[in-house]
C-alpha cells in the first residue's frame, strides 16, 4: 500500500499488514479452475470455428 498509516495507527495496523504479506494465500486451486475454464472457452471457440469452416 502506498498510503502510509499515521504514527498512532502504525503499531496495530503494521502487524496486520506484515502478516498478510508474509503468508500468501494458497491460490493453487483457484489458478487451476481459472485455467480449466479458460481452456474450455478456447476449445469451444475453436470447435465452433472448425464446424463453421467445414460446413
Amino acid at each position: 500500500m502506498s498510503n502510509q498509516p499515521s504514527v498512532k495507527q502504525s503499531s496495530a495496523h503494521g502487524v496486520n499488514e506484515s502478516k498478510q504479506t508474509d503468508e500468501e494465500p494458497n491460490l493453487k486451486g483457484t489458478f487451476a479452475s481459472v485455467m480449466i475454464l479458460g481452456a474450455f472457452i478456447i476449445v469451444s471457440w475453436i470447435s465452433v470455428f472448425i464446424l463453421y469452416m467445414y460446413r
Partner: protein, 168 residues
C-alpha cells in the same frame, strides 16, 4: 498494489485472450467486410413485386453466370415462394451443383420469418421491410431442409422447402 504470482498469470491470460478475440472480430468486420445477413437494404413489404428480385418471374433459382446462382425467396406465413415450375405448380425443391457460388436473397411480406438451411452456415432472419442475403458455396452434396426457425404462427412447422446439392 500487491498481486499474487498466479493472479498475474491469469490476468495476463485473460486480457491476452480478450485482445485475440477482439482482433479476430476486427479482422472479420473491417478487413473481410463481414456483415449481418440483413444490412440496411430496405424494401416495401406491401409491394415487394416492385423490387426486381422479387417479381413473380424472378423468384426461385436463377443462373446469373458460369457456376453462379441467385436464389430469390419470398417468405410469407406459411410458405417459401420459390417460383413456379414449367407446369405452373409451386417449386418445393431447388437443385444446385456442388461448388457453385450461390447468393440467397430473401424477404418477407408479413411477419418475421427465419431462413435456415439445416446443416449449412446459411441461417438468417427475414424481417418485413428488409432484404436479407447470404452468399455461400455449398461443397457437400446432399439433400438439405430449408426451414423457418423464427416462430411465425400456428403453421410454422409446415414452412419448409428442400435444397439439393448434386455432383455436377
Amino acid at each position: 498494489m500487491h498481486l499474487h504470482k498466479y493472479e498475474k498469470i491469469w490476468l495476463t491470460f485473460g486480457i491476452g485472450s480478450l485482445l485475440v478475440f477482439l482482433i479476430v472480430l476486427g479482422i472479420g468486420a473491417f478487413y473481410q467486410g463481414t456483415q449481418p445477413p440483413s444490412c440496411l437494404v430496405t424494401i416495401d413489404p406491401q409491394n415487394v413485386q416492385a423490387h426486381e428480385s422479387f417479381k413473380e418471374e424472378s423468384l426461385g433459382l436463377q443462373k446469373v453466370g458460369e457456376n453462379e446462382y441467385v436464389v430469390n425467396v419470398l417468405a410469407s406465413a406459411f410458405q417459401y415462394n420459390l417460383g413456379k415450375d414449367d407446369k405452373g405448380s409451386p417449386v418445393r425443391t431447388i437443385r444446385i451443383p456442388k461448388g457453385a457460388n450461390v447468393t440467397f436473397q430473401a424477404t418477407t411480406t408479413d411477419v418475421v420469418h427465419g431462413f435456415q438451411i439445416a446443416g449449412t452456415n446459411v441461417n438468417m432472419m427475414l424481417e418485413p421491410g428488409y432484404i436479407s442475403d447470404f452468399e455461400t458455396t455449398l461443397d457437400n452434396p446432399g439433400e438439405y431442409t430449408i426451414l423457418c426457425n423464427e416462430y411465425c404462427g400456428i403453421g410454422q412447422h409446415t414452412m419448409s422447402a428442400v435444397l439439393e446439392v448434386y455432383e455436377p
